[in-house]
């Protein structure tokens, strides 16, 4: 589904990603871990098409298409979804209105009829249960005055509505208490299928107890320096990142 080859990216001339290689197949869950500043969030942003990040080398193929060639909105319409680490507030625009605009543009791209208000609302009702989100929250201005947990839950709700093929969760666990973490993870797990894949970017192993990964990759200095199964995450939890840093730095 997704093939990343030798991906290099820079921000304002400073290289952040220095040759990422990754293969993600349908049905898989990949965890990207690593110390602060290793490039985890940059990878998520580059895949989503954030403009400040300049790709200097490499390629990304998504469902047979050159992902880097697509505008951010077309990547979304092709089925790439990024759950933001810091969801953005849009005053005066309700989540409902926002999502209806988004969903209908995605549908139009895919050659589907727009959903009318009735069908849209019934779809919303169905998906709301998945992430245990309250209707009241959805009629408020998007993310404005939401608690950290509400924002993250709303991200997963949007994911449920847009039904992406590749979901990238960027530190979705940050700022969540244990209950919110459980709710958010449950939502993600329910949305998993044999046709979709998930990339979980996280700093801590905690989230991976709920969203169990098939593969764990450690990112350090812009490269994947170690890959393994979920046991690798447990090892990192016990030992920290220093031993990996030492291994890598010694090899240089």
């Amino acid at each position: 589904m997704l093939t990343i080859k030798n991906l290099h990216a820079a921000v304002e001339g400073t290289p952040i990603l220095r040759g990422i290689n990754l293969e993600v197949k349908p049905g898989e869950v990949h965890a990207i871990m690593g110390p602060n500043g290793s490039g985890k969030s940059t990878l998520a942003s580059v895949l989503a098409g954030r403009e400040e990040y300049e790709v200097t080398e490499g390629e990304v193929i998504f469902k047979g298409k050159d992902l880097l060639d697509l505008a951010p909105e077309d990547r979304a319409r092709e089925g790439v979804f990024l759950a933001f680490q810091y969801p953005v507030e849009i005053p005066g625009v309700s989540s409902t209105n926002f999502l209806r605009t988004a969903l209908n543009q995605v549908r139009e791209y895919r050659g589907q009829e727009p959903l009318d208000a009735v069908k849209f609302l019934s779809l919303m009702k169905e998906k709301m249960k998945l992430v245990e989100i309250d209707q009241k929250l959805l009629s408020r201005s998007l993310n404005e005055g939401f608690s950290g947990g509400e924002k993250k839950r709303n991200e997963i709700f949007q994911m449920a509505m847009l039904e992406p093929t590749l979901s990238i969760l960027d530190e979705t666990d940050s700022g969540l208490d244990i209950d919110a973490l459980r709710i958010v993870s449950n939502g993600v797990n329910k949305l998993k299928s044999a046709d979709t894949a998930t990339i979980v970017v996280t700093h801590y192993q905690r989230l991976l107890e709920y969203i169990v990964p098939d593969y764990v990759h450690v990112l350090y200095k812009g490269q994947i320096v170690k890959s393994g199964t979920k046991d690798l995450a447990l090892e990192l939890e016990a030992k920290g990142y220093d031993w990996i840093k030492e291994e890598v730095d010694a090899a240089v």
């Binding site: 933001f84 953005v88 005066g92 926002f98 988004a102």
Partner: protein, 481 residues
Amino acid sequence: MSKDNQILEEFTSKEYEHGWSVNYEADEAPLGLNEEIIRWISAKKEEPQWLLDWRLKAFRAWEAMEEPEWANVTYPKVDFQKLRYYSAPKQTKKPKSLDEIDPELLAIYERLGISLNEQKRLQGIAVDAVLDSVSVATTFKGTLAKLGIVFCSFSEAVKEHPELVKKYLGSVVPMTDNYYAALNSAVFSDGSFCYIPKGVRCPMELSTYFRINAANTGQFERTLIVAEDESYVSYLEGCTAPQRDENQLHAAVVEIYAGAHAEVKYSTVQNWFPGDKDGKGGIYNFVTKRGICAGDHSKISWTQVETGSAVTWKYPSCILKGDNSIGEFYSVAVTNNMQQADTGTKMIHIGKNTKSRIVSKGISAGKSQNSYRGQVQVMKRASNARNFSQCDSLLMGDRCGAHTFPYIDIQNPSAKVEHEATTSKIGEDQIFYCNQRGISTEDAVALIVNGYAKEVLNQLPMEFAVEAQKLLALTLEGSVG
């Protein structure tokens, strides 16, 4: 090129949608302004002597006045002798009903998206359309007449209801109030008149559509709305003008009178031609709008969505004379390219327990300058007066300007006045967030701007709100980076 700059580029290349004009035979006044011209206009309109005298008095006052320069706008001085002060579509005889009106005129309105026939049948809105200087048709008159409501062109009101016109004309905006009001008083050509008798709730929205067609024509409408005690009316006004290289002058006067327990809601969507991206052409919009809450517990509410005009100079105001009266001002002003807007409101608290609320949302793009100018005045007698003002500015790009000039003058210590102001930019973060959900940049900008202006748009009647939202989106169309 950053995304902001790209948005800017596209934004500035956006063409004015209503830029076309129709060649119809016009009945015009000669160029220039003097007493003879005023007599000519008055005679053309078959006016009574008292109105001619009133015009001449205003003209003499105007001649002695200086053009004001305090507004935060710059433009080449208007040569008043090179303007034409009256231009009417030529008609062989006066129309008696909509069916008799020149189909070409009606076609203009169809192109504007306000088919009178359509509106008459479908929407239940009474429309008084003013093309250049003559009111083309007034729909729904019969229905309104049964309730004693008068809704007609100003000229017709002069003929049919001279006592009402004489009583209220100039009572809220005196002929010598300011330079442009005096000019309007001297040469006003037509406009709308609306009278709601005591205790009557007007069952439909009353709507006027203005359009400037002829070249070099100043459009000087005069609108007078009188709501007697315990009455209610919601009044809508929309404006467009064809695209021309020269600047056209628009100096209107709107007067609103609200008796005790009466309520008047006045909404405008203004889409005059703003000039091209280099600032060539466009409408000078120098308008005086004022309402008086004359009776106790009366209420006047102004809502405006301003997207057009090269230069705007406009302060819809409320004189809160009656005790417990309420004044409101809700405004969205968009400026782009070389547009300049200096707009805001005045709330003058005279009565006890009077309240006013000001919500102003400015949006600046291109190289435009957008100023909010507001005055809150609490007089000695106005105990327990309350005012809340909120002035927000939204900037697109880094070459435009937003300015806020709040004036507060308090003469009663019990007054409570609050002022809040914010300035923000459309963030790349917000646009990217929308993009990531599959929303195009163009639609993202429209969504964000409409969200920003929501508090004001919510004040508009339903049909108008939809039109205003479309207009905002249209103004921002082509802004994809």
